[in-house]
Protein backbone atom coordinates (compact mmCIF):
# COMPACT_ATOMS: atom_id res chain seq x y z
CA UNK A 1 0.00 0.00 0.00
CA UNK A 2 1.47 3.39 -0.99
CA UNK A 3 1.88 6.20 1.57
CA UNK A 4 -0.79 8.23 -0.23
CA UNK A 5 -3.35 5.42 -0.06
CA UNK A 6 -2.55 4.86 3.61
CA UNK A 7 -3.01 8.54 4.35
CA UNK A 8 -6.28 8.58 2.45
CA UNK A 9 -7.46 5.47 4.37
CA UNK A 10 -6.79 7.01 7.77
CA UNK A 11 -8.02 10.52 7.03
CA UNK A 12 -11.19 11.38 8.94
CA UNK A 13 -14.15 11.87 6.66
CA UNK A 14 -17.51 13.45 7.42
CA UNK A 15 -20.07 10.84 6.41
CA UNK A 16 -23.81 11.26 7.09
CA UNK A 17 -23.60 8.56 9.80
CA UNK A 18 -20.71 10.29 11.57
CA UNK A 19 -22.46 13.64 11.41
CA UNK A 20 -25.58 12.07 12.93
CA UNK A 21 -23.54 10.48 15.73
CA UNK A 22 -21.73 13.78 16.31
CA UNK A 23 -25.04 15.63 16.49
CA UNK A 24 -26.47 13.11 18.99
CA UNK A 25 -23.37 13.37 21.19
CA UNK A 26 -23.40 17.16 21.09
CA UNK A 27 -27.09 17.35 21.95
CA UNK A 28 -26.58 14.76 24.69
CA UNK A 29 -23.77 16.78 26.24
CA UNK A 30 -25.87 19.96 26.20
CA UNK A 31 -28.81 18.21 27.91
CA UNK A 32 -26.38 16.57 30.36
CA UNK A 33 -25.10 20.03 31.28
CA UNK A 34 -28.68 21.26 31.78
CA UNK A 35 -29.58 18.21 33.87
CA UNK A 36 -26.67 18.61 36.27
CA UNK A 37 -26.84 22.39 36.55
CA UNK A 38 -30.59 23.02 36.57
CA UNK A 39 -31.91 19.73 38.01
CA UNK A 40 -34.43 17.08 36.99
CA UNK A 41 -37.35 19.50 36.70
CA UNK A 42 -35.66 21.47 33.91
CA UNK A 43 -35.21 18.53 31.57
CA UNK A 44 -37.88 15.96 32.48
CA UNK A 45 -41.66 15.76 32.69
CA UNK A 46 -41.48 13.72 35.91
CA UNK A 47 -43.93 14.57 38.68
CA UNK A 48 -45.13 13.16 42.00
CA UNK A 49 -47.48 10.73 40.22
CA UNK A 50 -44.71 9.40 37.99
CA UNK A 51 -41.30 9.80 39.61
CA UNK A 52 -39.83 7.04 37.41
CA UNK A 53 -40.00 7.90 33.73
CA UNK A 54 -38.28 7.06 30.48
CA UNK A 55 -34.81 6.81 32.02
CA UNK A 56 -36.01 4.05 34.36
CA UNK A 57 -38.28 2.32 31.80
CA UNK A 58 -35.83 2.30 28.93
CA UNK A 59 -32.32 2.91 30.22
CA UNK A 60 -32.67 0.80 33.35
CA UNK A 61 -35.42 -1.83 32.91
CA UNK A 62 -34.77 -2.47 29.20
CA UNK A 63 -31.01 -1.99 29.62
CA UNK A 64 -30.73 -4.61 32.36
CA UNK A 65 -32.98 -7.09 30.52
CA UNK A 66 -31.20 -6.70 27.18
CA UNK A 67 -27.80 -7.03 28.87
CA UNK A 68 -28.78 -10.51 30.07
CA UNK A 69 -27.00 -12.08 27.09
CA UNK A 70 -23.81 -12.12 29.18
CA UNK A 71 -25.04 -14.44 31.91
CA UNK A 72 -27.18 -16.51 29.50
CA UNK A 73 -24.25 -17.24 27.14
CA UNK A 74 -21.74 -17.78 29.97
CA UNK A 75 -24.14 -20.20 31.67
CA UNK A 76 -24.77 -22.07 28.38
CA UNK A 77 -21.04 -22.52 27.77
CA UNK A 78 -19.47 -22.94 31.21
CA UNK A 79 -22.35 -24.47 33.23
CA UNK A 80 -24.40 -26.40 30.64
CA UNK A 81 -21.23 -27.41 28.74
CA UNK A 82 -22.20 -26.09 25.29
CA UNK A 83 -18.54 -25.47 24.39
CA UNK A 84 -19.36 -25.05 20.71
CA UNK A 85 -20.78 -21.62 21.60
CA UNK A 86 -17.57 -20.52 23.35
CA UNK A 87 -16.80 -18.01 20.59
CA UNK A 88 -19.96 -16.07 21.49
CA UNK A 89 -19.10 -15.56 25.17
CA UNK A 90 -16.85 -12.51 24.85
CA UNK A 91 -19.14 -10.45 22.57
CA UNK A 92 -22.10 -11.30 24.83
CA UNK A 93 -20.20 -10.46 28.03
CA UNK A 94 -18.91 -7.22 26.49
CA UNK A 95 -22.47 -6.23 25.54
CA UNK A 96 -23.57 -7.10 29.07
CA UNK A 97 -20.77 -5.09 30.66
CA UNK A 98 -21.44 -2.02 28.51
CA UNK A 99 -25.19 -2.40 29.08
CA UNK A 100 -24.80 -2.44 32.88
CA UNK A 101 -22.22 0.37 32.81
CA UNK A 102 -24.74 2.51 30.90
CA UNK A 103 -27.47 1.53 33.36
CA UNK A 104 -25.34 2.92 36.20
CA UNK A 105 -24.52 6.01 34.13
CA UNK A 106 -28.23 6.51 33.39
CA UNK A 107 -28.97 6.22 37.11
CA UNK A 108 -26.70 9.18 37.82
CA UNK A 109 -29.03 11.23 35.60
CA UNK A 110 -32.18 9.90 37.25
CA UNK A 111 -31.19 10.00 40.92
CA UNK A 112 -31.87 13.44 42.35
CA UNK A 113 -28.50 13.69 44.15
CA UNK A 114 -26.32 11.38 42.04
CA UNK A 115 -23.22 11.48 44.22
CA UNK A 116 -25.28 9.78 46.92
CA UNK A 117 -25.71 6.70 44.72
CA UNK A 118 -23.30 4.62 46.90
CA UNK A 119 -25.01 5.72 50.15
CA UNK A 120 -27.17 2.56 50.49
CA UNK A 121 -23.97 0.51 50.73
CA UNK A 122 -21.88 2.69 53.02
CA UNK A 123 -24.14 5.10 54.92
CA UNK A 124 -27.69 3.90 55.29
CA UNK A 125 -28.40 0.36 54.07
CA UNK A 126 -31.98 -0.81 53.62
CA UNK A 127 -31.55 -4.58 53.36
CA UNK A 128 -35.30 -5.28 53.40
CA UNK A 129 -35.86 -3.25 50.22
CA UNK A 130 -36.04 -4.67 46.70
CA UNK A 131 -34.28 -1.52 45.50
CA UNK A 132 -31.36 -2.17 47.86
CA UNK A 133 -31.03 -5.70 46.49
CA UNK A 134 -31.18 -4.45 42.90
CA UNK A 135 -28.53 -1.82 43.62
CA UNK A 136 -26.23 -4.28 45.38
CA UNK A 137 -26.63 -6.95 42.69
CA UNK A 138 -26.08 -4.49 39.83
CA UNK A 139 -22.93 -3.13 41.51
CA UNK A 140 -21.58 -6.63 42.13
CA UNK A 141 -22.59 -7.96 38.71
CA UNK A 142 -20.97 -5.01 36.94
CA UNK A 143 -17.74 -5.96 38.76
CA UNK A 144 -18.21 -9.62 37.74
CA UNK A 145 -18.76 -8.61 34.09
CA UNK A 146 -15.68 -6.40 34.19
CA UNK A 147 -13.61 -9.34 35.45
CA UNK A 148 -15.18 -11.67 32.86
CA UNK A 149 -14.30 -9.36 29.94
CA UNK A 150 -10.92 -8.28 31.36
CA UNK A 151 -8.96 -11.19 29.74
CA UNK A 152 -9.63 -9.59 26.33
CA UNK A 153 -8.09 -6.32 27.51
CA UNK A 154 -5.22 -8.08 29.30
CA UNK A 155 -4.40 -10.12 26.17
CA UNK A 156 -4.44 -6.90 24.16
CA UNK A 157 -2.07 -5.28 26.67
CA UNK A 158 0.16 -8.38 26.74
CA UNK A 159 -0.38 -9.05 30.47
CA UNK A 160 -0.53 -12.85 30.19
CA UNK A 161 0.16 -13.72 33.85
CA UNK A 162 -2.66 -11.55 35.15
CA UNK A 163 -4.88 -12.75 32.30
CA UNK A 164 -4.22 -16.40 33.27
CA UNK A 165 -5.20 -15.70 36.88
CA UNK A 166 -8.53 -14.14 35.79
CA UNK A 167 -9.23 -16.98 33.33
CA UNK A 168 -8.88 -19.50 36.19
CA UNK A 169 -11.76 -17.73 37.95
CA UNK A 170 -14.11 -18.10 34.94
CA UNK A 171 -16.39 -20.80 36.37
CA UNK A 172 -16.70 -19.09 39.76
CA UNK A 173 -17.47 -15.77 38.06
CA UNK A 174 -20.08 -17.44 35.84
CA UNK A 175 -21.86 -19.06 38.80
CA UNK A 176 -21.74 -15.78 40.74
CA UNK A 177 -23.05 -13.93 37.67
CA UNK A 178 -26.00 -16.32 37.27
CA UNK A 179 -26.90 -16.00 40.97
CA UNK A 180 -26.71 -12.20 40.86
CA UNK A 181 -28.71 -12.02 37.62
CA UNK A 182 -31.43 -14.32 38.97
CA UNK A 183 -31.72 -12.08 42.01
CA UNK A 184 -31.80 -8.63 40.45
CA UNK A 185 -33.64 -9.43 37.20
CA UNK A 186 -36.54 -10.76 39.28
CA UNK A 187 -36.27 -8.00 41.88
CA UNK A 188 -36.77 -5.37 39.18
CA UNK A 189 -40.23 -6.90 38.68
CA UNK A 190 -40.58 -7.11 42.46
CA UNK A 191 -40.25 -3.32 42.69
CA UNK A 192 -43.74 -3.03 41.18
CA UNK A 193 -45.35 -5.43 43.68
CA UNK A 194 -45.61 -2.51 46.07
CA UNK A 195 -48.13 -0.71 43.81
CA UNK A 196 -51.09 -3.05 43.15
CA UNK A 197 -53.55 -0.15 43.24
CA UNK A 198 -51.57 1.87 40.68
CA UNK A 199 -50.97 -0.85 38.09
CA UNK A 200 -53.49 -2.23 35.65
CA UNK A 201 -54.59 -5.71 36.79
CA UNK A 202 -53.64 -7.28 33.46
CA UNK A 203 -49.97 -6.47 34.07
CA UNK A 204 -50.00 -6.73 37.85
CA UNK A 205 -49.64 -10.17 39.38
CA UNK A 206 -47.67 -11.78 42.14
CA UNK A 207 -45.68 -13.46 39.36
CA UNK A 208 -44.12 -10.17 38.20
CA UNK A 209 -40.64 -11.05 39.56
CA UNK A 210 -40.76 -14.48 37.89
CA UNK A 211 -41.99 -12.92 34.63
CA UNK A 212 -39.19 -10.35 34.67
CA UNK A 213 -36.55 -13.03 35.22
CA UNK A 214 -37.86 -15.45 32.60
CA UNK A 215 -38.34 -12.70 30.01
CA UNK A 216 -34.79 -11.48 30.66
CA UNK A 217 -33.54 -14.88 29.48
CA UNK A 218 -35.47 -14.37 26.22
CA UNK A 219 -34.05 -10.84 25.99
CA UNK A 220 -30.52 -12.17 26.45
CA UNK A 221 -30.93 -14.91 23.86
CA UNK A 222 -32.56 -12.53 21.34
CA UNK A 223 -29.88 -9.90 21.89
CA UNK A 224 -27.05 -12.38 21.31
CA UNK A 225 -28.66 -13.47 18.01
CA UNK A 226 -29.41 -9.86 16.97
CA UNK A 227 -26.01 -8.51 17.97
CA UNK A 228 -24.29 -11.47 16.25
CA UNK A 229 -26.11 -10.62 13.01
CA UNK A 230 -25.10 -6.94 13.26
CA UNK A 231 -21.49 -7.83 14.06
CA UNK A 232 -21.39 -10.19 11.07
CA UNK A 233 -22.75 -7.45 8.82
CA UNK A 234 -20.51 -4.60 9.97
CA UNK A 235 -17.50 -6.22 11.66
CA UNK A 236 -17.05 -9.41 9.67
CA UNK A 237 -13.40 -8.53 8.99
CA UNK A 238 -12.75 -8.77 12.74
CA UNK A 239 -14.22 -12.27 13.10
CA UNK A 240 -12.11 -15.42 13.05
CA UNK A 241 -12.92 -18.61 11.13
CA UNK A 242 -14.58 -20.33 14.10
CA UNK A 243 -16.89 -17.38 14.68
CA UNK A 244 -18.01 -17.22 11.05
CA UNK A 245 -18.37 -21.01 10.77
CA UNK A 246 -20.48 -21.49 13.92
CA UNK A 247 -22.59 -18.33 13.99
CA UNK A 248 -25.57 -20.03 12.32
CA UNK A 249 -25.43 -22.96 14.77
CA UNK A 250 -25.50 -20.45 17.61
CA UNK A 251 -28.56 -18.70 16.15
CA UNK A 252 -30.40 -22.02 15.75
CA UNK A 253 -29.47 -23.26 19.23
CA UNK A 254 -30.44 -20.01 20.91
CA UNK A 255 -33.66 -19.80 18.87
CA UNK A 256 -34.68 -23.22 20.23
CA UNK A 257 -34.01 -22.07 23.77
CA UNK A 258 -35.81 -18.74 23.21
CA UNK A 259 -38.87 -20.49 21.78
CA UNK A 260 -39.12 -22.86 24.74
CA UNK A 261 -38.59 -20.12 27.33
CA UNK A 262 -41.13 -17.86 25.58
CA UNK A 263 -43.71 -20.64 25.77
CA UNK A 264 -43.03 -20.92 29.51
CA UNK A 265 -43.30 -17.15 29.86
CA UNK A 266 -46.65 -17.13 28.07
CA UNK A 267 -47.99 -19.68 30.54
CA UNK A 268 -46.68 -17.64 33.48
CA UNK A 269 -48.68 -14.68 32.14
CA UNK A 270 -51.79 -16.84 31.71
CA UNK A 271 -51.45 -18.20 35.23
CA UNK A 272 -51.10 -14.59 36.46
CA UNK A 273 -54.45 -13.80 34.81
CA UNK A 274 -56.06 -16.94 36.17
CA UNK A 275 -54.92 -16.38 39.76
CA UNK A 276 -56.30 -12.82 39.79
CA UNK A 277 -59.35 -13.78 37.70
CA UNK A 278 -58.61 -10.81 35.47
CA UNK A 279 -60.12 -12.20 32.26
CA UNK A 280 -62.87 -9.58 32.07
CA UNK A 281 -60.28 -6.82 31.60
CA UNK A 282 -59.28 -8.36 28.26
CA UNK A 283 -62.49 -6.93 26.80
CA UNK A 284 -61.27 -3.31 26.97
CA UNK A 285 -58.76 -0.96 25.33
CA UNK A 286 -56.05 -2.00 27.77
CA UNK A 287 -57.08 -5.61 27.08
CA UNK A 288 -56.50 -5.14 23.35
CA UNK A 289 -53.05 -3.69 24.08
CA UNK A 290 -52.29 -6.62 26.40
CA UNK A 291 -53.44 -9.13 23.78
CA UNK A 292 -51.21 -7.38 21.22
CA UNK A 293 -48.23 -7.69 23.57
CA UNK A 294 -48.88 -11.34 24.36
CA UNK A 295 -49.88 -12.32 20.83
CA UNK A 296 -47.54 -10.25 18.70
CA UNK A 297 -44.48 -10.12 20.93
CA UNK A 298 -44.62 -13.39 22.92
CA UNK A 299 -46.68 -16.06 21.11
CA UNK A 300 -45.63 -15.00 17.59
CA UNK A 301 -41.85 -14.93 18.27
CA UNK A 302 -42.25 -18.22 20.17
CA UNK A 303 -43.74 -19.80 17.05
CA UNK A 304 -41.31 -18.10 14.62
CA UNK A 305 -38.25 -19.07 16.69
CA UNK A 306 -39.50 -22.67 16.75
CA UNK A 307 -40.16 -22.66 13.02
CA UNK A 308 -36.80 -21.05 12.25
CA UNK A 309 -34.92 -23.53 14.46
CA UNK A 310 -36.73 -26.54 13.00
CA UNK A 311 -36.31 -25.41 9.38
CA UNK A 312 -32.80 -24.07 10.13
CA UNK A 313 -33.88 -20.74 8.64
CA UNK A 314 -31.33 -18.34 10.13
CA UNK A 315 -32.76 -15.31 8.36
CA UNK A 316 -36.15 -15.92 9.97
CA UNK A 317 -34.47 -16.41 13.35
CA UNK A 318 -32.62 -13.09 13.07
CA UNK A 319 -35.77 -11.15 12.24
CA UNK A 320 -37.59 -12.94 15.06
CA UNK A 321 -34.78 -11.90 17.44
CA UNK A 322 -35.59 -8.27 16.55
CA UNK A 323 -39.22 -9.01 17.41
CA UNK A 324 -38.11 -10.60 20.68
CA UNK A 325 -36.03 -7.55 21.62
CA UNK A 326 -38.93 -5.21 20.76
CA UNK A 327 -41.25 -7.41 22.83
CA UNK A 328 -39.08 -7.01 25.93
CA UNK A 329 -38.91 -3.24 25.41
CA UNK A 330 -42.70 -3.13 24.99
CA UNK A 331 -43.23 -5.21 28.13
CA UNK A 332 -41.00 -3.03 30.31
CA UNK A 333 -42.69 0.11 28.95
CA UNK A 334 -46.11 -1.40 29.57
CA UNK A 335 -45.33 -2.39 33.15
CA UNK A 336 -43.59 0.82 34.16
CA UNK A 337 -45.41 3.47 32.11
CA UNK A 338 -48.57 2.33 30.29
CA UNK A 339 -50.12 0.16 33.02
CA UNK A 340 -48.73 2.37 35.81
CA UNK A 341 -51.16 5.08 36.97
CA UNK A 342 -53.66 3.77 34.39
CA UNK A 343 -56.59 5.23 36.31
CA UNK A 344 -55.30 8.81 36.04
CA UNK A 345 -56.94 11.09 33.45
CA UNK A 346 -54.94 11.48 30.26
CA UNK A 347 -54.07 15.10 31.08
CA UNK A 348 -52.24 13.94 34.23
CA UNK A 349 -50.41 11.04 32.61
CA UNK A 350 -46.65 11.23 32.08
CA UNK A 351 -45.12 11.59 28.65
CA UNK A 352 -41.34 12.04 28.39
CA UNK A 353 -39.88 15.38 27.30
CA UNK A 354 -37.70 15.55 24.18
CA UNK A 355 -34.67 15.99 26.43
CA UNK A 356 -35.36 12.67 28.13
CA UNK A 357 -35.45 11.01 24.71
CA UNK A 358 -32.21 12.84 23.80
CA UNK A 359 -30.39 11.44 26.85
CA UNK A 360 -31.63 7.88 26.17
CA UNK A 361 -30.48 8.05 22.54
CA UNK A 362 -27.20 9.64 23.71
CA UNK A 363 -26.54 6.72 26.08
CA UNK A 364 -27.37 4.07 23.45
CA UNK A 365 -25.02 5.85 21.01
CA UNK A 366 -22.28 5.85 23.67
CA UNK A 367 -22.79 2.10 24.10
CA UNK A 368 -22.54 1.40 20.36
CA UNK A 369 -19.40 3.56 20.09
CA UNK A 370 -17.78 1.85 23.09
CA UNK A 371 -18.62 -1.62 21.67
CA UNK A 372 -17.13 -0.70 18.29
CA UNK A 373 -14.05 0.80 19.96
CA UNK A 374 -13.38 -2.40 21.94
CA UNK A 375 -14.10 -5.00 19.24
CA UNK A 376 -11.98 -3.21 16.65
CA UNK A 377 -8.98 -3.30 19.01
CA UNK A 378 -9.26 -6.21 21.42
CA UNK A 379 -9.69 -9.96 20.81
CA UNK A 380 -13.46 -10.16 21.25
CA UNK A 381 -14.72 -11.49 17.90
CA UNK A 382 -11.49 -13.45 17.36
CA UNK A 383 -8.84 -15.16 19.46
CA UNK A 384 -5.12 -14.59 19.59
CA UNK A 385 -3.44 -17.84 18.37
CA UNK A 386 -1.42 -18.25 21.61
CA UNK A 387 -4.65 -18.41 23.67
CA UNK A 388 -6.87 -20.24 21.19
CA UNK A 389 -6.52 -23.71 22.81
CA UNK A 390 -8.01 -22.56 26.14
Amino acid sequence: MSQETKAAGTRFQFTPGRLLVGGILLLGLVVTFLRFTKGLGAVTNLDHNTPWGLWISFDLLCGVALAAGGFVTSAAVYIFGLKKYHFAVRPAVLTGFLGYALVVLALTYDVGIPWRLPYPFIVQPGPTSFLFEVGLCVALYLTVLFLEISPAGLEWLGKSRLRNIVVKMTLALTVFGVILSTLHQSSLGGLYLIAPSKMHPLWYSSYLPLGFFVSSIVAGLSMVIFEGALSYRFLRHKMDEEHIRNKDDLAIGFAKAASFVLAGYLFIQLVGLAVGNDWAYLNSGYGAWYILEMGGFVALPCFLFALGAREKNVRLIRWTAVLGVLGIVLNRFNVSLVAFNWHLPLSERYFPSWMEFAISIFLVTLGVLAYTFVVTRMPVLYEYPEYSEE
Partner: protein, 42 residues
Protein backbone atom coordinates in the same frame (compact mmCIF):
# COMPACT_ATOMS: atom_id res chain seq x y z
CA UNK B 1 -66.84 -11.69 35.52
CA UNK B 2 -68.07 -14.55 37.66
CA UNK B 3 -69.95 -13.71 40.85
CA UNK B 4 -68.35 -15.10 43.96
CA UNK B 5 -70.15 -15.06 47.26
CA UNK B 6 -67.21 -16.24 49.34
CA UNK B 7 -63.44 -16.12 49.21
CA UNK B 8 -63.51 -19.92 49.16
CA UNK B 9 -65.49 -19.87 45.92
CA UNK B 10 -63.06 -17.41 44.39
CA UNK B 11 -60.03 -19.49 45.37
CA UNK B 12 -61.67 -22.74 44.19
CA UNK B 13 -62.38 -21.22 40.79
CA UNK B 14 -59.01 -19.51 40.23
CA UNK B 15 -56.97 -22.40 41.63
CA UNK B 16 -58.96 -24.90 39.60
CA UNK B 17 -58.33 -22.95 36.43
CA UNK B 18 -54.64 -22.66 37.30
CA UNK B 19 -54.41 -26.44 37.68
CA UNK B 20 -56.04 -26.89 34.26
CA UNK B 21 -53.55 -24.40 32.76
CA UNK B 22 -50.63 -26.27 34.31
CA UNK B 23 -51.87 -29.49 32.74
CA UNK B 24 -52.20 -27.81 29.34
CA UNK B 25 -48.71 -26.35 29.79
CA UNK B 26 -47.21 -29.79 30.43
CA UNK B 27 -48.74 -31.13 27.20
CA UNK B 28 -47.87 -28.03 25.10
CA UNK B 29 -44.28 -27.78 26.33
CA UNK B 30 -43.77 -31.50 25.69
CA UNK B 31 -45.13 -31.09 22.16
CA UNK B 32 -42.98 -28.00 21.56
CA UNK B 33 -39.89 -29.87 22.75
CA UNK B 34 -40.45 -32.68 20.28
CA UNK B 35 -41.31 -30.16 17.50
CA UNK B 36 -38.00 -28.37 18.14
CA UNK B 37 -35.84 -31.48 18.30
CA UNK B 38 -37.49 -33.98 15.95
CA UNK B 39 -35.31 -33.02 12.98
CA UNK B 40 -32.00 -33.01 14.85
CA UNK B 41 -31.14 -36.56 13.74
CA UNK B 42 -31.37 -35.66 10.05
Amino acid sequence: MEDFSTFHEFMSFTKGLTYVLMGVMLVVLGGLWSFLNSRDDD
